[in-house]
Amino acid sequence: MEPVLVAKNLSKKYGRVVALESANLELYPGEVLGVIGDNGAGKSTLIKVLCGAVIPDSGEILLDGKPVTFTSPIEARTLGIETVYQNLALSPALSITDNMFLGREIRQKGFMGKFLKFLDKKAMADEARKRLSELGLLTIQNINQLVETLSGGQRQGVAVARATSFGTKVVIMDEPTAALGVKESRRVLELISEVRARGIPIILISHNMPHVFEVADRIHVHRLGTRLCVIDPKKYEMSDAVAFMTGAKEPPQS
């Protein structure tokens, strides 16, 4: 089977800090790829390159076998790659609806929308409400509530809802459960399974080993800016994964 998304020899330096050093990654159709690694291993940098937020110094990205270069996140998004960023990337002073539709607003039909470019606020609010309640991820009374008035977990819910509703090709999640309670984390894990069931592959970055081992089909271990190994969660224990990650144990040869 051909991978959906391939990263080849990606490198990225910030001054003298090497964030990525010829890192590789393959994402296959319909799979959940867990990505684990120590703090500062370069996981976020890797996925930011894949979604256009960071431009690599060198290396190549293939989407459906075709080389692509992203100069901004919107280009990756146009191709159906949606991302939940570690810092969420929401605008606190805007409403939930505004945030969900930021950069892909729905315009009114006819003259008002076409020439005056008026937004169809009602359609966006309805859609946002529908998506959020489908997720069952948060109890939000008012869809036009400002994001800054939401709790940390609710904000994360909005970011996850945004990515999973619009992702058509690949969904990338960087620590999507970091701020969530037990129940909400459960819901995000279920959601990941639902997105996979829709046939959309997912990259899940997490420090939460039980979560990764629960939903991932394969686990990519990242260390010192590059891929150390890929392991099958059914064949290895969590303690093995942590040992590889920290360099306490030699990785399996693949």
Binding site: S91, L102, L119
Partner: protein, 237 residues
């Protein structure tokens, strides 16, 4: 310079847009702090204005004869005993237009998103640099329109008039609740901010306060307004 009035006005509007966009490009391309760019180009443009005009003023009577259109917004109309200049209606028109732009279009939402958190806006798929240049260009256009209106109001044209207009407008929007930290502010607030500053200064001069103490009072008004803005942010967090 012998250009007919209408094209001359068009040149003025385009200059406004161009200088605004130039500021925007300096901010986005060279990643300079906006405040420094404002300070720098403020002086540069002022020097250019003095150079091109040879420091000459144009008398009101000359404008009246050669280019009466420049005085258009200063013309007065009597509505039920109240005298308005056409400029007042233009101002309301601009406020309404910008209100729609900010609240009803994606462009407006993106303005807020960028002010709020530029990096987040970029990650959310907004081309923040392009947007910023367009915002600066719109601001430049508004300045150009303001300059046209001011010719009507003052009558004559001097290259040094309204030299500190940008400070007055910053004062007005800050008093109107626009945050200097970005992301917060409304058109209605800015309108009231402008009215407060206008009424405040003309009130003080009608009351016969010395220009010196008018400045003093305006300075206090700015400090108080920004102080309140800071305090509100602290409390709301």
């Amino acid at each position: 310079m012998g250009i007919p009035t209408l094209p001359a006005i068009a040149v003025g509007m385009v200059s406004g847009i161009a200088t605004g966009a130039f500021n925007g490009l300096l901010v986005t391309r060279l990643r300079l702090p906006p405040f420094i760019v404002t300070l720098g180009t403020w002086n540069i443009f002022f020097a250019l204005v003095i150079f091109f005009t040879g420091s000459q003023s144009i008398r009101s009577s000359d404008i009246e004869i050669n280019a009466p259109l420049l005085h258009f917004w200063g013309e007065r109309i009597n509505l039920g005993g109240f005298v308005f200049t056409y400029g007042a209606f233009l101002m309301i028109g601009i406020f309404v237009f910008l209100w729609f732009l900010l609240n009803k279009t994606a462009w407006g939402r993106h303005v807020y998103a960028i002010g709020d958190d530029k990096d987040a806006a970029e990650l959310s798929g907004i081309r923040t640099d392009r947007m910023l240049v367009s915002i600066y260009a719109v601001a430049g256009l508004v300045v150009a329109i303001g300059a046209w209106v001011s010719i009507g109001r003052v009558g004559s044209v001097s290259p040094t008039s309204f030299y500190e207009g940008n400070l007055d407008s910053i004062t007005a929007v800050v008093i109107g609740g626009t945050s200097l930290f970005g992301g917060r502010g409304t058109i209605i607030g800015s309108l009231f901010g402008a009215l407060i500053v206008g009424v405040f200064s003309s009130g003080l001069s009608i009351a016969g306060l010395d220009v010196l103490w008018q400045r003093f009072a305006l300075g206090c008004l700015i400090i108080i307004a920004v102080g309140i803005d800071q305090w509100i942010r602290k409390v709301s967090n």
